[in-house]
């Protein structure tokens, strides 16, 4: 197999390769959205309120950013296995299980980074918002909106982590051909088959995709900054 193996597949519009790329995007984007829905308000809340044990929570969130994917995969596997507590859902070895694992993996990243951004912003707007007698929930909303450009970068960090990991999706998805096979597990599989050049080619495809998504997000940010005045 020559180094152009992956390129040939792309140029030939290989259907199974597109299915793999599509599934990678669906799984990681779904996980990013879910993690954002949970993580951003949570991060903002921790950033804006004071309660006993707040420092411990901040340290915990920051520490969870380093969750090893393979450990998350194992935990979700034990949870979703037929012999586990949520086994009746029959989710193991499905894309849904992969979304769950990646969500658990990146929700702390999004929460911890959001907390930092919101807290810094709060320091800036504290007097203003206090004078306007804005309630805590409205504060969370106002500051999240104000920090939206930074939050996009946080989303990208979360998406990058989700799309790049292989340990968790391999365990909970099972790398089933045409069903739970994503870019990273395909690369691992092709490497194990000795198709090193194809594996490298697929790696380049994955990196290019991540770059393209980041470029798109950057473009959107620039565009909206110009138009937000």
């Amino acid at each position: 197999m020559d180094a152009g193996g992956a390129l040939d597949l792309i140029l030939a519009g290989d259907a199974s390769l597109f299915a793999i790329v599509r599934l990678s995007l669906i799984v990681s984007l779904s996980a990013t959205l879910l993690a954002a829905v949970v993580g951003m308000p949570l991060g903002a809340l921790v950033g804006l309120t004071s309660f006993p044990g707040r420092h411990a929570v901040v340290v915990l969130l920051n520490g969870l950013m380093g969750l090893p994917p393979v450990v998350v995969g194992l935990a979700v596997f034990l949870l979703l296995s037929r012999s586990g507590p949520l086994g009746d859902l029959g989710l193991l070895f499905t894309p849904a299980a992969m979304v769950v694992a990646q969500t658990v993996l990146i929700a702390p990243i999004i929460a911890a980074l959001s907390r930092q951004v919101i807290e810094d912003l709060w320091a800036e707007y504290r007097d203003e918002l206090t004078a306007m007698e804005v309630g805590p929930l409205a504060r969370v909303k106002a500051l999240l909106w104000d920090a939206r450009f930074s939050l996009v970068t946080i989303l990208l960090a979360g998406f990058g982590r989700a799309a790049a990991e292989v340990g968790a999706v391999m365990i909970v998805g099972g790398n089933i051909d045409g069903f739970t096979r994503v870019m990273t597990t395909t690369i691992a599989l092709e490497t194990s088959k000795g198709n090193l050049s194809l594996a490298v080619g697929l790696g380049i495809v994955l990196i290019s995709l991540t770059m393209a998504i980041n470029a798109l997000a950057w473009g959107i940010r620039r565009w909206s900054e110009c138009h937000a005045g």
Partner: protein, 277 residues
């Protein structure tokens, strides 16, 4: 407020993604836990489309080592097991986790080694003598170390040779805890010996300085079997669909499909199911 609408929209999209994902093709599909050798060699890619054409059933293969595949079955996470470690498979059935074990096919293990052949075992026919030579020379040997069928076979052979490198852990004995392909890649990179199933070896693309050192010893026989996970242990097992796959694999048609799978003109697996009525 706009951000709220956005959050609601995002949540709805994510929920839709979650809901849509698992329902696709769920009705007519079964999960088969199998070994890396059957997947990496391309056998499934050849026979499963034929089965799908005949029955409309989607077979989702999770490729693991035999030990892990048996555990997947024990937990109820697969409907059918297709593996290669007969003693463990028979125990799986006796313990009540499997219904019945069927012989499917065989191939053989081969000892792979570097062309430089530091242990001087090339073109041998006696695997036990070869292992003793590797041991005496302290030549690098890569072990799967993952409780797979190939790993079990390797440990059995060391035992027959009266040696126990897995217990003694000498520096030349490298347990990598990974699949067949990864073990071959490692052997290739470090110029070591490794026990491999012939199917994976033939289809392996990174042979580089590796070649077959020992083959043809009858102790290298490698039998594959198939079993339905016991529905009495795990009520959700799709026993009808799973049994259809088993019946097809051991039928004349399934056996022919296995026989017909070749790479560069070489047959990888030899069907040997008991004739069915």
């Amino acid at each position: 407020m706009r951000i709220r609408h956005l959050a609601v929209a995002l949540a709805a999209m994510a929920a839709a993604g979650l809901a849509a994902a698992p329902t696709t093709a769920q009705d007519m599909s079964i999960v088969v836990a199998s070994t890396t050798s059957t997947q990496d060699s391309g056998l499934f890619g050849h026979i499963l489309p034929l089965f799908k054409k005949r029955t409309g059933i989607d077979v989702k293969v999770v490729a693991q080592g035999t030990g892990q595949a048996l555990d997947t079955g024990r937990r109820g996470d697969a409907d059918v097991l297709f593996v290669h470690a007969k003693p463990q498979e028979e125990k799986f059935v006796t313990d009540g986790f499997g219904v019945k074990r069927y012989d499917v096919m065989y191939n053989d293990f081969v000892l792979i080694g570097p062309k430089s052949d530091p242990a001087k075992v090339k073109s041998g026919k006696d695997i036990i003598q070869a292992l003793k030579a590797i041991h005496d020379k302290g030549a690098a040997f890569v072990s799967r170390g993952d409780k797979s069928g190939t790993h079990s076979a390797e440990l059995r052979l060391w035992k027959d040779a009266g040696l126990d490198p897995a217990g003694a852990k000498p520096a030349w004995y490298r347990e990598i805890g990974q699949g067949m392909g990864a073990a071959l890649n490692t052997a290739s990179a470090m110029g070591g010996y490794v026990l491999a199933d012939r199917g994976t070896w033939i289809s392996f693309k990174n042979k580089d300085q590796l070649e077959i050192s020992v083959e043809g010893d009858k102790r290298l026989f490698n039998q594959y079997g198939i079993m339905l996970v016991n529905p009495e242990k795990h009520g959700h097992v799709k026993k009808d669909l799973g049994q259809q796959l088993i019946d097809w694999i051991v039928s004349a048609e399934g056996q022919k499909a296995i026989r017909d799978y070749k790479i560069d003109g070489q047959q990888l697996f030899f069907p040997n199911a008991a004739p069915t009525g």
